[in-house]
Subunit: 256 residues, 2 copies
């Protein structure tokens, strides 16, 4: 088994695929990603995402902790350079606040790693899964903002929020709230209350497509910080976003 | 055959699924969408998207022309209300400048249609497929803007562009250019040249994942209107977006 596995690796050559597992449901994983996982010798990623990959003979799982993105990326590139077929897994889409940027950052100054066979395999990102469940709140122009201030200053987040609100775009917020920074999202809600009308629609979509899924759509005046946690994707509508029946959507047109 | 098909429809009840076919490659269609198409009695959509669905006995295809979104949505709702299992197909994701908003608009004032079993099935939208092919240009905060002025005034597009540029977000442009409005994209490039540095990276991603795929990444000073057409998705990087080897990505962090 080991020798036939080694022969496969040798024939196919090393490769690094940075793959999106989608929001949770198997039915939302693309066949392209399923195929990459079936051919992989090594799967690398944050613990809960690696746990979504079924173990099998010939596949080594490399789960690692949160906030280890750059060292995880280097480990994956090292394995690929050694001839392994590596899949780095992210939840959602790997290119949206996930592992793809970390892998390219890790390539800086390493022409050997830049020459590897590296592919990004897109996935259903959280905002699209959340929007689909609620209706079509992202049916017109929108902004996608990571509210975590781990890797950028709060002043930049605030400037981007004000720009998006000023231009009346819908907004999708990733990482709205964590136990290590419980106050950021309070500040965001405060800023929204100062700048938007009180009946602006706010969608809290938690763990969409998993057994823990919970959807809440409220007006801004009713929104509270505790409606969001680490697993919640928040969508704030534009001024035109509205309800129809049990759905929420943003119309395609804006009057001149 | 007809009667067994009718019995299936009756047992399962009418349903409307608004499904995303992804950018083109079959390997990028989710199993959820494949399943919905397998169970459908009727498929409704713009001609080239319906052409992507394989004909089979018991399935009626309803292709319609561009700019017929609202009447197409009404036709689909009428079929679902009559007990059919209808799939409205969009390219990419149905919630991003596609059919989902049109269906919800068509429900306005129609409580009977609002009560139907309607689901949105997400797909890989063009900007995520384009970003994946190029690297990770959307790895940090970004805006998604439809450049068509069919349904909104140019002044609004311009305001949103200026807001996104001012807040230094990457931008993904849908429908950058069409034969009916060849000058819009020239105006956009002109605005970018007035407000951004000349080496800002611009990605032109045409028909990603199809045989017609073509990727070009150039600096703003080299970008010309003819690099985009109806099938092109344009991504403009933020000031931090950079090349590494043959890839382009936006780093995850911004210095305080």
């Amino acid at each position: 088994m080991m020798s036939s596995q080694a022969a496969v690796v040798d024939r196919m050559g090393g490769r690094l695929s940075i793959a999106g597992l989608g929001p949770g449901d198997h039915a939302l994983i693309t066949p392209e990603v399923v195929q990459a996982l079936a051919e992989a010798t090594d799967v690398v990623g944050y613990i809960p995402y690696v746990a979504r990959v079924a173990p099998r003979e010939g596949l080594t799982l490399h789960p690692s902790d949160n906030r280890e993105e750059l060292s995880r990326a280097r480990a994956a590139l090292t394995l690929a350079a050694a001839g392994k077929r590596v899949v780095v897994v992210s939840s959602g889409d790997p290119g949206v606040f996930a592992m793809a940027s970390a892998v390219f950052e890790a390539m800086e100054g390493r022409p050997d790693w830049q020459a590897l066979d590296v592919r990004v395999l897109p996935g259903i990102t959280a905002m699209l899964a959340a929007a689909a469940r609620a209706g079509a709140p992202l049916g017109h122009d929108f902004c996608t903002i990571n509210l975590s201030d781990n890797l950028k200053p709060w002043s930049l987040i605030e400037m981007r929020l004000r720009a998006a609100i000023g231009a009346d775009m819908a907004m999708a917020f990733y990482n709205p709230r964590s136990t290590s920074r419980p106050h950021t999202f309070e500040q965001v809600l405060q800023l929204l209350r100062e700048t938007c009308e009180p009946d602006r629609l706010v969608l809290f979509a938690r763990a969409v497509s998993t057994p823990q899924e919970r959807l809440q759509c409220v007006s801004l005046s009713q929104a509270t910080p505790d409606m969001a946690d680490m697993r919640t994707l928040v969508i704030v509508g534009s001024s035109t976003t509205r309800r129809v029946g049990r759905f929420v959507y943003t119309p395609r047109s804006v009057a001149a």
